[in-house]
C-alpha cells in the first residue's frame, strides 16, 4: 500500500446488543434511552484506534423510523447520535454520521423518489446541524436510492461517503438490483459523493476485488467496511468464525483504499488488528 489507510470503526448493532439491546428493539432509540451505552461504543472504537467513528443513526430517517413507530423522535435521535459519538471519541476520532436505507423499494413502488429525497434531506440536515464532520450513506442495495440520498446529503455542504452492498449475482459482485461496482461508482460520483465505498455484503475476502474495481472506476477516495464473512450457528448462537487477524490479513490486500473498517461480525478487536496490520 502506498499510503497508510485511515482506520474507521466496526459494527454497532452487535456492540449495543452486548450491552443489553434486545431482539427487535430499535438501536437508534438507544441514543435517547441508553446514551451511556451508545457513547461507550464510540469510545471503545476510538480507544481501539479508529480515526473515524460513525453514529448510531443508521435507521433514523423518517421512513425507517416510522416503521418502528419512532418518527416523532427523529430530530432528537439524530442530534443525540452525533453528540454521543463526539463525546465517546473525545477528540481522538472524527464523527461521520450514518444514513442507512429507507427499507422500502422504489422498484415495487413502496416509496417515491420525492419521498426518499425528503426523508434523506431531513435526516442529513439534522445531522449537519448537530455538527457531524461528514455524512456516510451506507448499506444501500439500490443505486437510485443511494444517488438520491447523496444528492440530499450534499445540500448540507458536508463531504458525503456513498457505499453500496455487493452481495448478489453469481460472483457476489453486484447489488441486489444488479448494479456493478463500475456503474455505482459513476452514478454516485455524478450525484456528488466525495468518497465511494462498499460495506456489509458477503465478507472482506470478496470485497478485495470489489475495492480494486471501484479504485479503477473513479479517482475519488475509496471506503471499505466489510463483514467478517458470513455467520454460522454454533451452539445455538449466531457466530462469525473469522478472527480479527484473518480479517486484517484480507484487509492488507486492499490496494489504494483510503478508509478501512468493519461491518457485521466485527468489534474493537478487529479495529486493533486493522491498525496493527495496515498502518
Amino acid at each position: 500500500m502506498s499510503t497508510a489507510p485511515i482506520i474507521t470503526d466496526g459494527a454497532w448493532g452487535t456492540e449495543l446488543q452486548a450491552q443489553g439491546l434486545s431482539l427487535g428493539e430499535s438501536p437508534d432509540i438507544w441514543n435517547l434511552t441508553h446514551p451511556a451505552a451508545v457513547r461507550a461504543v464510540a469510545a471503545s472504537y476510538a480507544a481501539a484506534g479508529s480515526r473515524i467513528v460513525l453514529t448510531n443513526t443508521f435507521r433514523a430517517n423518517r421512513i425507517a423510523l416510522a416503521a418502528a413507530g419512532l418518527a416523532d423522535r427523529l430530530e432528537a435521535i439524530n442530534r443525540a447520535g452525533v453528540a454521543l459519538s463526539r463525546e465517546g471519541a473525545a477528540g481522538a476520532a472524527q464523527v461521520y454520521a450514518s444514513i442507512g436505507p429507507s427499507g422500502k423499494m422504489l422498484a415495487a413502488e413502496e416509496v417515491t423518489e420525492d419521498g426518499l429525497r425528503a426523508a434523506f434531506t431531513e435526516q442529513a440536515q439534522v445531522l449537519a446541524s448537530a455538527s457531524a464532520d461528514a455524512l456516510v450513506i451506507e448499506t444501500m442495495s439500490d443505486v437510485d436510492e443511494a444517488a438520491f440520498a447523496v444528492e440530499s446529503a450534499r445540500t448540507t455542504g458536508l463531504p458525503v461517503v456513498a457505499c453500496m452492498v455487493y452481495d448478489s449475482g453469481r460472483n457476489k459482485d453486484r447489488t441486489m438490483m444488479g448494479t456493478t461496482p463500475e456503474q455505482a461508482a459513476a452514478r454516485l460520483e455524478q450525484a456528488g459523493a466525495s468518497v465511494i465505498g462498499a460495506n456489509c455484503g458477503c465478507g472482506i475476502a470478496g470485497y478485495v476485488a470489489i475495492a480494486a474495481r471501484l479504485r479503477a472506476a473513479t479517482n475519488l477516495p475509496i471506503w471499505i467496511k466489510a463483514n467478517a464473512g458470513l455467520p454460522e450457528l454454533i451452539d445455538g448462537r449466531v457466530t462469525y468464525r473469522m478472527t480479527p487477524q484473518e480479517f486484517a490479513d484480507h484487509a492488507r490486500r486492499l490496494e489504494g483504499v483510503t478508509y478501512i473498517g468493519g461491518c457485521c461480525g466485527t468489534n474493537p478487536e478487529f479495529i486493533r488488528a486493522l491498525v496493527a496490520a495496515c498502518t
Binding site: 452487535t14 427487535g24 427499507g103 422498484a107 448478489s168 441486489m176 458470513l230 454460522e232 462469525y240
Partner: protein, 215 residues
C-alpha cells in the same frame, strides 16, 4: 401460426418484459377468443416465469425485472383465478410467509412473496416482526403446504429456530415444509435450524417451493 399461438406468444412476451397492462389485455383477448384459461397458464405464463428465472440465474435480469415480471404475471392470474377456481383447478400451493420476530426488514420477503404469487401460489403474508405464535396460528388456521421465513439481521436469525421449534411443539411441523432465506442466511445455517430448504434468492425459493408441493 394460429391466432391462439399468437396470443400465447404475446402474453409470454408481455410477462417477460414486465408489461402488466399488456399481459392483462392479452389474457382478456385470449378468453374472448374462447381459449382455455389453463392453456394460457401452462403454455404462456408458466414458461414466461421459467424464462424470467433463467434470465435471473444468468444475470441478465435482476430484482427490478423480477418484480415487474411478477406483477405482469399477477395481473394475468387475477383475471384467470375465478375461472380456474370454477373449473376446479387449484393454486400451485398455499404459502405462509413472514419476516421473523425482531426483524422489521421486509424487502427480501416482499420480493419472494411477489415471485411466489407470480408462480401461481396463494400467499398469506404475515408481514414483518412476526412471532412464533403467529406463525403457529397461521399454519393451524390456513393449513399451508409451505412456511417461508425471512431475516436480514444476524441478531434475528435465531428466531428462525424458535419458530421451527414452536411449529414442532404445536404438532404441525410435519404438515409443512419450511423454507428460510435472507442476506445472512446460508445453506448450512438452514440445516442447523432444522429448515427443509434454503432460498438463496427469490427464484431459487420459487423452484424449491414448486418442488416441495409436488411431494
Amino acid at each position: 401460426m394460429t391466432d391462439n399461438d399468437s396470443v400465447l406468444g404475446s402474453l409470454r412476451e408481455a410477462i417477460l418484459k414486465g408489461d402488466n397492462k399488456a399481459s392483462a389485455a392479452l389474457t382478456n383477448d385470449g378468453l374472448a377468443a374462447g381459449m382455455d384459461p389453463m392453456d394460457l397458464v401452462t403454455h404462456a405464463m408458466v414458461p414466461a416465469m421459467d424464462e424470467v428465472g433463467r434470465l435471473f440465474e444468468c444475470e441478465e435480469y435482476f430484482v427490478p425485472e423480477l418484480l415487474l415480471s411478477a406483477r405482469a404475471m399477477k395481473a394475468a392470474l387475477e383475471i384467470l383465478r375465478p375461472l380456474l377456481a370454477a373449473s376446479g383447478a387449484k393454486s400451485a400451493g398455499r404459502v405462509v410467509i413472514g419476516t421473523v420476530k425482531g426483524d422489521l426488514h421486509d424487502i427480501g420477503k416482499n420480493i419472494v412473496s411477489a415471485m411466489l404469487e407470480g408462480g401461481g401460489f396463494e400467499v398469506i403474508d404475515l408481514g414483518a416482526d412476526v412471532s412464533a405464535q403467529k406463525f403457529v396460528e397461521a399454519v393451524q388456521e390456513r393449513k399451508p403446504q409451505l412456511v417461508c421465513l425471512s431475516a436480514l439481521l444476524t441478531v434475528t436469525m435465531t428466531s428462525m429456530k424458535t419458530i421451527i421449534e414452536a411449529l414442532q411443539q404445536a404438532g404441525v411441523r410435519d404438515s409443512v415444509k419450511v423454507l428460510v432465506g435472507g442476506a445472512p442466511v446460508t445453506a448450512e445455517f438452514a440445516r442447523q435450524v432444522g429448515a427443509d430448504g434454503y432460498g438463496e434468492n427469490a427464484t431459487v425459493a420459487v423452484s424449491l417451493a414448486r418442488k416441495f408441493v409436488q411431494l
